[in-house]
Amino acid sequence: MRRLLLSVAIAAIFVGGAVAGRPGAAAGDVSATGAATGVFPAGAQLSGVTLSGSTMGMGVEIHADGTALGQFETELVGTDILGAARTISVEGDVAAGSLNSDGSVTFSGTSTVDLGNGQVQTGVPFTVTATTAGLQLIVGATTLPSQTLGAGTITIQ
């Protein structure tokens, strides 16, 4: 079980609306900042936890050379197989990123994942693709279902 949990790869694709690209942004630094709540579609699961939503924050600067810096943090909220509430947190440092042709940004780094059951994994790679209406999160090798924003905002500029 422990081995299984440690190998959990978390991913989520948060599908949002198309993001208008910032003219000229690709040629320079781009920032992605956000503070929001998210909503998972039915059936989203991670490590035996049925996910319903999340809260998250991001503060990232992406450079034209593909490097990036900043932080990403999310708390994924759900219930375990016994129906008990469970929160899984992902706290990541951002090291790389890019502005995509559709105006979204993708950034990645390594994270600490607290599975909410006493088990904490460190050094877990993660990737986020964010738009102003949602985001896509990949942690390790697991892709979570897409998530749209509830309250709050994501700003890409």
């Binding site: 809260t55 924050g57 991001m58 810096l69 900043g70 932080q71 708390e75």
Partner: protein, 544 residues
Amino acid sequence: MTTDVGPTRPGLRVLRSFALAASVVLTSASVALAAPARGEPQSTGLTPDLTQSVAAVAPAALPLISRNVPAFTNNDCGVANAAQLANDSSYDSQWRSCDVPLTILTAVYLAYDLSSVAPANRSHVLVAWYNDPATLPYDHSYVPVHPCCVGTALDIPSDYTIEGNAAPGGGAYPTTGWVVITSVSGNHFHSRQHLIDFTGYNWLRINVTGSDGSPGASDARMNLDVHNASAGAQDDWIFFGDSITEIGLEHNSMSGAGGSGTWAQLINAANPSFFPAFEDGGIGGAVSQDGVNNINTWLALFAGHYVGLAYGTNDAGFQVTPTDFYNNYVTMVQAVISTGKIPVVPTIPWGCTTTIQQNAPALNQKIADLYAAYPQIIHGPDLWAYFQANQALISSDCVHPTQQGFVALRQQWANAMLANVYNSGTTTPPPTTNSVVTGAGAFTGASGKANFGFKIRQTGTVVSGHFNYSNKTDGVTFDCPVTTLSISGNSATFGSSGGRCTYQVTVQDIAKPGTGKDTFNLTSPVESNGGTLTKGDIAVRTGV
């Protein structure tokens, strides 16, 4: 100021001045008789040290730009309390409206034509109004831990807006075109300040629609200063303390006792490069626990940088233990530091009651311990040493200075800050290094659980960035640009002014990861919220 201070004012002054003394003296019965004779040297356990142990850097200047600019009002009681009294060089005079019930329909305004000030010097301004010493305590509605004094509100603006107008200056007061920049309701403090983006405006006014006063004094009364804050609001101070601070740092000249101006005017006279903004946060009867109980609320209202913490006389009177006194100060100092501001701490003044003589030296030793533990503290004046050496300046209550003593106390505060802050070297240079501050996380504060994310880059003097905030509890969100940034050590303060995006955030990067360590504090007209991160991290990077 109007010369009409009201018939109750002299008596009120006596009450404020001596109620504290009574409470202290009464706890020790005939203590005054048992007190050592004046002139007998008493050890504080402290080596008088007006030299800052840690090199302080002088703040960027906050020049006063409203002095004698054209001032207008719609209510000055038939010129008796003219608008010009609010911005002349005398703080002994104030603009005051006639005593009418203030409502939206009977609003009174005080307006300044700032068009003669170069636009670059008024793009960002600090607006500070001072009702004191009409109203004596900083917060007349606050009842201290040991209630001692009756705080009476006289003509405090309780509901008002600060507004700008782009109409050309040099002529008549514009009756239209006013834009609300910030608004306040329910105020009960005798002074307030607002750091605002004034870009594009020529005129500034405070429009008062409500008063926190008392019978015969329920209108609006104030001096109002506008400072050029284009280099930030570093040279902005507030002094919290008891009645000794309350009286000693009032906005008046004390000319009747030989004084020559407010504390800021003393600083300006000695070093004309500076004219600090300052508020008097003294409340009669307060002990250090009162500071602890209120420090976060007070700091949320204060846009400036230096925070005086001057308690202890009443702690000595009420025999607060040195450990409790120290812990109270630690709480206050940490609160100040966590918001990116700088604490300033003097010693407890010498006095001749038995309780002060017996207890204050041990408390002053704790202040020495505090200096050692927190090198960020700017040393205030050594008021024990000063009044011990000048005992004739302590009044017959053995607690408060005489009127001349208060003049001397104010000068001691000026001397110490001139030595330890203003003349400490060069002024803060404009930022020349590049900095990046980023953060993302969550915390639970007084206003609920919130998430945030921000990125700010400073290249030379240019600051750009963005800030997002979402409070899950009350639904408040921010999606705002960042236009100002100041970094002090591992702390950063950023924000912007204007409309919905008027806010200031102070973060502290204590550890990595920041969970349980780093701090986040938001202040704004919409919401003030902050705390230690429950998730996430903050990174303050300089020289990048």
